[in-house]
Amino acid sequence: MLRQVEGSRAVAETVARCRPHVVAAYPISPQTHIVEALSELVGSGDLTACEYLTVESEFGALSACIGASAAGARAYTATASQGILFMAEALPNASGLGLPMVMTVANRALGAPINIWNDHSDALSQRDAGWLMLFASSNQEAVDLHVQAFALAERLSLPVMVCMDGFVLTHAVEEIDVPGQDEVDAFLPPFRARQWLDPDEPVTIGAMVGPEAFTEVKYLMAHRQLRALDDVSQVARDFAAAFGRDSGGLLRPYRTADADVVVVALGSVLGSLADVVDELRDEGLAVGALGVTCYRPWPLDEVRRALREVPRVVVLNRAFAVGSGSILGQDVRLSVPAATKVHDVVLGLGGRPLTHDVLRRLVLDVVAGQVGSDTLTFYDLDHQRVATELARELADVPSAGGAS
């Protein structure tokens, strides 16, 4: 039913309709509204047969989910920013053990400096942890991706991260169709674990593996990840058939046909980008946008197909690899012909708004040849402030003799 509701609340209700057995909760902004709402749903009896664990840390939260999943239960947690870093040790453990579970990441910057606002540094820092990573472009998609995520996790026996922009989506109140219990029940069968800690048939989970078999185990993991691309597409198709709307899948192209410039991005900026694309198309510029919904596994072939004929690609990075370059941009570069100009742009860090005007100006600047394609461009940088600080730092450099 379509309702005007906060994104976090809608996600919490949707998660509840997926009937998790164990919810592990630890507060961190901007994820807190989700687990708060879930505690209400458990407390009020709307969500039954669910243990709501208030753990002592994010590390404990993910660890509890690992235990719960290994014990054959459907497990859920949510986090953001420093929280996902605090989980970092347990992330590849969950995926390495092949334990299905779903985690919401309310995307937020990483400190220092401490910053509670939205960018993608948190999730992208864990891109190699072996989790499926799905990015929501809207709250409706965030809701829908959670239903799909449980289906995918359990079909593949892998953990799935649903990333939604912190505050921008989690705290936005808008019209969202929260799936009904019957619909979700029909789509998502009860969880049957591939292997679990069954006293009747004891298994050893998490044994030590030496050099004689480690590579093979890792290869099989990678193989299953890549196979997951088919499942992501299939589950999205099944979802569309069951719920009557397109959500999820690998990519979300918008007016990319015959485009001279395509902007590639993750997350909620896709909405504003679509507005900008429409506006510029009306003005005669052949512009399109490509949302990456499934970031891990990386849909190499699909991105390649989508961008093959596009001469200029702008990659909107909301996180970057310090000392190296872009993150999303590197994935895109691997997926386009060598002749394609890839304008790798960092902007919208730590909550700096990605307004309609900024996005429009970015595309126009790219078209006008004012944005390079060989280096990473910090597009919304305050150059004056940086220049002043750099000058001061240079002036402060101690002489070669050091302190005397």
Binding site: H21, V22, A24, A49, C50, E51, L53, T54, V55, E56, S57, F59, G60, A61, S63, A64, C65, I66, G67, A68, S69, A70, A71, G72, A73, A75, E89, A90, N93, L97, W196, L197, D198, P199, P202, V203, T204, I205, G206, A207, M208, V209, G210, A213
Partner: protein
């Protein structure tokens, strides 16, 4: 057919396999019907106190749980020596996740069992002292404070033996380890304030806290049974000598454990809801020196010139705990 004569060293001890006792007084381990939760053939060192303790604990817990038991194991010696892929010594469902999260993983398992209506399955978490008192303390404290239905067993061998014998928060003062060598005027591991996890557990006022050693397997089994008869968070701290890390003779493992208790350095007691309910009084009190001298990690404290001051300080620690817990044999009437 040849016969093996009964070895008389068992007489007068309460060690495993004492078949001179009445059947109902024998340990679980002496029964041919024991669960064999950990089978033989694992890769523990000879004389490993932890392997012995884990076998006794698991079998007693399995019996108490009617075979409906799941165990979570922190990273450490026990995990490594029992599961070199593709082998496993475990006959019970066993899960290893990470070093510091065994308590939280076990909480998750217990929650899962409750939520899915399998409350009959009991959960036992195991870790060494590193996984308990150091890296695992945050998760463990959370499990205690929530009173999650988990029995957490710490096999305390007083150091990071799996990584090559480095100090942990449970390493005694004066011990030489790979990163507390007595160099120059150094004494080995420095005197800090110490960290008593059993007393930290008691501060959480959880239903049951106990300490035990592998010198008294009857006592160890009884404590596992007592813990398994209760629900909520329970903690069992078992002293397990490590011949490798302590520099003791593998054949002395049980003896060293006994001297730890009889010297007063390792108080054996039970507590319920934060209050000590029972202590194992020392039967024949010995000076700490008798315990220390069996271990190469304390060798530098003896000989010429030796460190009688350090030995005296350790004796003072023992005396303090004997007084604190009322372990003195003299007081027994």
């Amino acid at each position: 057919m040849s016969t093996t004569p009964l070895k008389l060293y068992q007489v007068g001890t309460f060690a495993a396999g004492n078949r001179l006792l009445d059947p109902d007084e024998r340990t679980v381990q002496s029964s041919t019907q024991r669960a064999s939760s950990i089978t033989s053939g694992h890769r523990a060192c000879r004389g490993c106190g932890e392997a012995l303790a884990a076998r006794v604990v698991m079998d007693a817990a399995m019996r108490a749980a009617g075979g409906r038991l799941v165990t979570v194991n922190a990273t450490g010696c026990l995990e490594v020596f029992s599961t070199p892929f593709p082998e496993s010594a475990w006959q019970v469902p066993w899960l290893h996740s990470l070093f510091g999260n065994a308590a939280a993983v076990a909480s998750g398992v217990a929650a899962a069992m409750r939520a899915t209506g399998r409350d009959d399955v009991r959960v036992l978490a195991q870790a060494g002292d590193g996984g308990t008192v150091d890296i695992g303390l945050g998760c463990l404290s959370g499990m205690f404070e929530r009173n999650d239905d988990v029995l957490f067993v710490c096999y305390d061998n007083q150091g990071y033996m799996n990584t090559g014998v480095q100090r942990s928060g449970a390493t005694p003062a004066g011990a030489s380890t790979a990163n507390t060598r007595p160099m120059g005027a150094g004494i080995g591991n420095a005197f800090g304030t110490g960290k008593s996890l059993p007393r930290i557990a008691m501060a959480h006022e959880i239903p049951y806290v106990a300490t035990a050693t592998i010198a008294d397997l009857h006592d160890l089994e009884a404590k596992v049974e007592a813990a398994m008869a209760l629900h909520g968070a329970r903690y069992l701290h078992v002293l397990v000598p490590c011949p490798l890390g302590w520099g003791s003779d593998p054949s002395d493992t049980v003896r060293v454990a006994r001297l730890a208790t009889q010297s007063g350095l390792f108080p054996v007691f039970e507590a319920e809801h934060g209050t000590v309910t029972r202590v194992a009084r020392i039967r024949r009190r010995v000076p700490v020196e008798e315990y220390l001298r069996l271990q190469a990690r304390f060798r530098h404290l003896f000989g010429e010139p030796g460190r009688p001051d350090v030995v005296a300080a350790l004796q003072a620690q023992a005396d303090r705990d004997i007084a604190r817990f009322g372990l003195d044999p003299e007081e027994e009437s």
